[in-house]
Amino acid sequence: FPTDQRMDNEENMQLAQAYLNQFYSLEIEGSHLVQSRNRSLIAGKIREMQAFFGLTVTGKLDSNTLEIMKKPRCGVPDVGQ
């Protein structure tokens, strides 16, 4: 169980990063040294996305946010064009 959940979480986080990168101009740095900075960048972008979609703004990858991320959509970014 714990392993599966961790994998799910990782998959969800990857999906979220790809989504935010594509539609919310998320640019994170690869180095492990800046992981905490990346986390706060991602949380900020999640907040931006949640506000845009009228979701409760938590900055966390909750089920409603993930559901929206998985829906079919237009490929044009929501911000930063």
């Binding site: 539609f23 506000a51 845009f52 979609f53 009228g54 409603n64 929206i68 829906k71 079919p72 959509r73 237009c74 490929g75 044009v76 970014p77 929501d78 064009q81």
Partner: protein, 413 residues
Amino acid sequence: YGYTLPGWRKHNLTYRIMNYTPDMARADVDEAIQKALEIWSKVTPLIFTKVSKGIADIMIAFRTRVHGLCPRYFDGPLGLLGHAFPPGAGLGGDTHFDEDENWTKDGEGFSLFLVAAHEFGHSLGLSHSSDQTALMFPNYVSLDPSKYPLSQDDISGIQSIYGGLPKASAKPTETIVPHACDPDLSFDAITTFRREVMFFKGRYLWRIYYDITNIEFELIASFWPSLPANIQAAYENPKDKILIFKDDNFWVIRGYAVLPDYPKSIYALGFPRYVKKIDAAVCDKNTRKTHFFVGIWCWRYDEMTQTMDKGYPQRVIKHFPGIGLRVDAAFQYKGFFYFSRGSKQFEYDPKAKNITRTLKTNTWFQCKEPLNSSSDFGIKEKVHSGGVEVSYHKSLNLLLFTIVLLLKLNSMY
């Protein structure tokens, strides 16, 4: 809405369909693209002309995955459906659809017309809107092929770039008389009213009674002259009043009188400012709570405290499992909720929290057979009810039967 200025510097734009999807007939693709452009040309001075060769302002293509020099990629089935580029040279204005999707005219899969209408919004300079009822909302969720796709937000957005229709070309609004037994009939709003149910469509309404099998068809203005046509939602509250909604206004009716001091703003009911209109509303007579439907979201209003309940909006599908996407109209009858969407209607058991039946929207009108366009033709200008339609068919059948019988008798003698 959002936009990129200055948009196109000309009003006559060309488009070219570079290739066709095998999912649809070519003629259907042509029609979907033309209709999708028309929804924008009807509210702006823009004119679109199709060309078959050379460079057009809007180059339309079906592509997959990484395609040519396009900086945006597709991702196989689902996910991304299309993308387009804002006005400009080169890729500017160009629109691509993901060929890995199942494109349709109006059936299963994705409606090319609706996705194209959204993408052409980008081609003309609009960016995504955070208004969930707008065509330019990024998820295409609020789209219903049977409804006019532009919201006021879309119209305001495009007109802020190009202005409105030139006054000289403004056409008078055509009066369309809806038919009770039209198989594609959809409703603007439905509400109970004491011991009857009212179905609103355009400038008209049908009334059916709980105890009588009679149907009446009237002009809304004949009851309430101050109400607008094309209302969007209506419900009966526990205090014997009907609330009627259009855009961000609502009226309150008691009996056959619109109460003074209306319309009032829907924000007085507690809606946030980003809500621009209500799609449907229904008051649960048991709980005295009213559900308001806005796109894929619903709010709940307590009729006793006259406040919005906390914890809302919620996704419609979460609150009413089985009811996905947008609803056109809703009402409660004998304990069940009835949700209408396009020509379909869902009977919903609020206790079991599931759909118990799927019906046509006009099952309430006891249509014996659906009308076809030919039988509509001769009586188009008349204001009439479903009952008149049915008796018209019956009389025609009786006449034909009598003629055949007479001919038979004649040949026997």
